[in-house]
Amino acid sequence: MGELKLMKGNEAVAEAAIRVGTDAYFGYPITPQSEIIEYLMAEKPHERTGMVVLQAESEVAAINMVYGAAGAGKKVMTSSSSPGISLKQEGISYMAGAELPCVLVNVVRGGPGLGTIQPSQADYFQSVKGGGHGDYKMIVLAPASVQEMYDFVETSYDLAFQYRTPVLILTDGVIGQMMEKVEVSEQKPRWTDEEIAKNTPWATFGKKKDRERNIITSLDLDSARMEQHNHHLMRKYEEIKEKEVRFEKINCEDADYLLVAYGSSARISQKAIDLCAEKGIKVGLLRPITLFPFPEKEINEMADKVKGILSVEMNAGQMVEDILLAVKGKVPVEHFGRMGGIIHSPQEVVEALEQKIIGG
């Protein structure tokens, strides 16, 4: 068993980044995730592993530094919060188009606009439906604990390099700011130059005599080729949908009703199903761990077993649309959520379930 530490979610992401052998982090401060770059700077990762940490002049510059380093075959990450992620969307679209692996972290805050610095899940659409311009997706992981914040960094790199795609860790201020027990892993070495050449033969690290030059671009002015490239991306997303769906089921076996919630909302909903059990109401929780790909098959199957489904999100109702698509009208589906940085309480979730689903 690895060493146990009490860490904030933001710190866990940063420590994991160092320990899994990240080559570079480029970021720009924004509440509530500035601890990530602060922690990295304080840890002197250039001394620990040779990892580069650089505070960019803007989110726009940061994501383009990520784009450059990722194109050059390096393990690279950035993090931000909602308004900063909006600024990064152009670069993310470029990376999806150029098929570059990288790890992104969005510690979501309430919007729209400058909004609030309090927690929210209002960036669901932006995360799973593309976000920037063009037809693309990225894999989205939603940790619900500080341990998952730590573990998902390595998972994200694995997926990012396997599929040559940006992977987003979508979280919020609750998970980012809370402290929990974390088991940290052993330090892994960064990739050597030889490993980079082997693992990323497509990358730009200098044209060798025995190969054609490598070009990283998302541009193709030939529409027929561009359409082919889009088809190629879609096939990749289909493969991801087939193979990479992750979720957790709690008390779903004999549930009469189902809550669907991710991240911090899932934690709150877990307490809510305990409160329901005390009242004699059998409620299960399905927690999507990947938001793209979405566990639509499992939710569809659950719709055969329960009388109604409540989507619990800290937003105006975003994931509920994907649940509705998955359920295909089999049972009533409703949304409950607080907004603007207000975190719903377990009691509010129970009341919403009683009013919107059980009594509805």
């Binding site: 146990l4 009490l6 610095i117 809370m178 402290m179 929990e180 911090s264 877990q270 309480s345």
Partner: protein
Amino acid sequence: MTEEIIIAGFGGQGVLSMGKILAYSGIMQDQEVSWMPSYGPEMRGGTANVTVIISDERVSSPVLTEFDTAVILNQQSMDKFESTIKPGGYLLYDPNGISRHPERKDIKVFKIEGAKIAADLGNTKIFNMVVLGAYLKMRPIVKLENVILGLKKSLPERYHKLIPLNESAIKSGMESIEEVA
């Protein structure tokens, strides 16, 4: 066993670090813990509060609206959190600066003259450790030896020389807590 605690006071009273030491102590005796601060502008100069949960089982919601125990260190927090304590729960407060004392009859109320004791010990910075000691006397959910281990884990190495001082502050708190009702 699950203990859900809110610790609330002014920024600068060491509320967050008291919670952190308590959480670390839980880890030291192999329990599950969570530490959830209120964050943002209110942390600066205004009130600060932290929810700490220590449990034998996986912690579900880190965000709560009712608590087993409240540790209250200023009047604003008294106004905000007295009503959130579950019936049969515990309230610990420092009467220094409190104009309206607790009114609930369905909970157990204790007080600790934390500010005064810390001043008497000659170091106002150990105020939160005095309060922690009082809490541990009232709710002995973690052992003192594990609290000392937790202190070691949460303090940077260069502050380890201060551990004996902290330990004596905790003991003063344990000795000085008074049951009010």
